[in-house]
Symmetry: C2
Subunit: 345 residues, 2 copies
């Protein structure tokens, strides 16, 4: 026997009031006497009533779902972000649905297509291929918070970490540890679209410029989707090309894991022969051999900002407000065993 379903009408009858009064009490709306409120609360308690979230969302013309559109879930990065966002969303009556775009143009376009998006009350989108103009052109009709790349002056709220500063920090750290030929695994040339990769690459160049060290373009190698496998392959390609290098800045910790493995296969010691620094501060990094130095992007505060911005728009039914908000959270260097430098001031 399925449990008795207690509705608002049941509570109203039990408390001797109307459904509306029950609704008002539940939603903390004013206009109920202390006495009535107490009776309603007692009835709720007594009957074990819980609001039917589906009915409430239905009535409001909403689904209660927030879409989180990310490239993949291979590494821990997006999994952790998803968990944090979900916790924040639950506290406010929503839940998070994860969609993987596969980091391809088609995947991203499909994910933000009208049909897919309309099932959500709002979306958090981390594009890796599309730029603001393209996202804008998709004509998304729910609130959107963009994530992880720099796009000046878009119509969307935008939360990102300071990738350029982070890349600079990481590279400068390698230089201070004595590196002069620093490979950039996952690096991308600056061609129009800003992305996590191009921005961190910009930081890499910035640090070289400040230190007066020339950049050898051949040391900038792509790493597809920044997975562990991609990192491994990238180093193997550099080695095959016989390019000397004494430092590696890897754009993600996940890829850095593959880099460390590749260096081990090549018989190069870390940090004695080659220093390595990652980016993301995944917990796994502190258990690698050697423990990985990395950049910590402070993801917890990013998650709060994201949910605040998004749900504010969702609740106020103002999908595309006039004033898009730009939030930049700052990065911090975490020095462990894979580098020779010291913590910077």
């Amino acid at each position: 026997m399925m449990g008795v379903v207690v509705t608002m009408s049941d509570v109203a009858r039990e408390a001797g009031v109307s459904k509306m009064t029950v609704s008002n009490v539940i939603n903390g709306r004013p206009g109920a006497s202390t006495d009535t409120r107490a009776r309603v609360l007692a009835a709720i308690e007594h009957l074990g009533y819980r609001v039917n979230a589906t009915a409430r969302h239905f009535r409001a013309g909403r689904s209660g779902a927030i879409g989180l559109l990310v490239p993949h879930l291979d590494g821990p990065y997006y999994a952790h972000l998803a968990a944090r966002l979900d916790t924040l969303a639950k506290a406010r009556g929503y839940h998070v649905i994860i969609e993987r775009t596969g980091a391809s143009r088609e995947g991203e376009l499909a994910a933000i297509s009208a049909g897919r998006v309309q099932q959500y009350d709002g979306i958090v989108f981390s594009p890796v291929q599309l730029d603001t103009a393209e996202v804008s052109a998709a004509g998304i009709e729910v609130p959107v918070v963009l994530l992880g790349e720099r796009d000046l002056a878009g119509p969307f709220d935008h939360v990102m970490m300071d990738n350029v500063a982070g890349g600079d920090l990481a590279t400068m750290h390698l230089i201070q540890g004595g590196a002069r030929r620093i490979a950039l695994v996952g690096g991308r040339q600056d061609v129009g679209v800003d992305s996590m990769a191009t921005l961190r690459t910009r930081g890499y160049r910035q640090a070289h410029a400040k230190a007066g060290i020339p950049v050898d373009e051949r040391l900038i190698v792509d790493a597809d989707s920044f997975t562990t496998a991609d990192g491994y392959d990238a180093v193997m390609r550099i080695a095959r090309d016989q390019l000397p290098f004494d430092g590696v800045f890897v754009l993600t910790d996940a890829a850095a894991m593959g880099v460390l493995r590749a260096l081990a296969d090549l018989g190069r010691r870390v940090p004695q022969d080659v220093q390595v620094v990652g980016f993301d501060n995944d917990v796994e990094g502190q258990y690698l051999v050697p423990r990985l130095s990395t950049i910590d992007p402070d993801n917890d505060s990013m998650a709060s900002r994201i949910m605040d911005l998004l749900l504010h728009r969702v609740d106020s039914r103002a999908p595309l407000a006039a004033h898009a908000v730009e939030v930049v959270t700052s990065a911090r260097l975490v020095v462990r065993e894979s580098t020779r430098g010291r913590v910077l001031a």
Copy 2:
């Protein structure tokens, strides 16, 4: 301007039929002439109509949500399982909501409490502390599929991998590689409740018995929630107690990562001084130094079985059928660099 919301009535008007006919066509119910069907389909296409899942679930008295109750999301194991289950669920009009129990009794009891569970149409529960009787006592009123531990004869459908065989396989592999004093990280004494840990431990003992090797109980050390940190700590504890060992069977790959790191800190070479084998076959394992030998539980087929069993009950509104189904998927040894043995037949 929010996009025009196209409803079933709009489609009906456009096609010159009633809502019911549209509904029938959409749901593939019989009783619509080929001609009518074509007109309805054309109207749907023309207007860009999509069914409102919230309304449909509301009408059906459902939420459309499947709860996935797991101990944590620290490692990749449950994150991957969640992703797979979600893909399967989406294809059938449901979505997966992840709940973390924290691997504690209170956390698990809270997660399966009436209030929490009633928001789901069905749940997939991976208990680590509770046994079948306790889960049963909670009086869950939606379909449940249990996961990951052995419980004979419960009222719930139950999908698990063959943990005992996997533990046996791993241990036997270490023995064949020459190990005689094998530490068991995450091992648990067999006390009433079967769990992932006690079952794999049973496999460990079984292998020792078959090989005629005595088990040193002091080498069986707990590892809390099987995280990387727990694995690290476990090995450090064994070392502090000065117990000699030449092999380690770690109950999860996540913990195995910490084990490898600890052995590196202790200056013990793997696999020359100590062989290590994990369990789960996380992708990360093949990039560790050394690459981790492990047990592959074939999670993909587990995920399909789980969703099939669960949604069958959900769709047929038969939460507690008379015949609970027990599914056991088999495990496979993956030999890499952290052990000295060869692949078993």
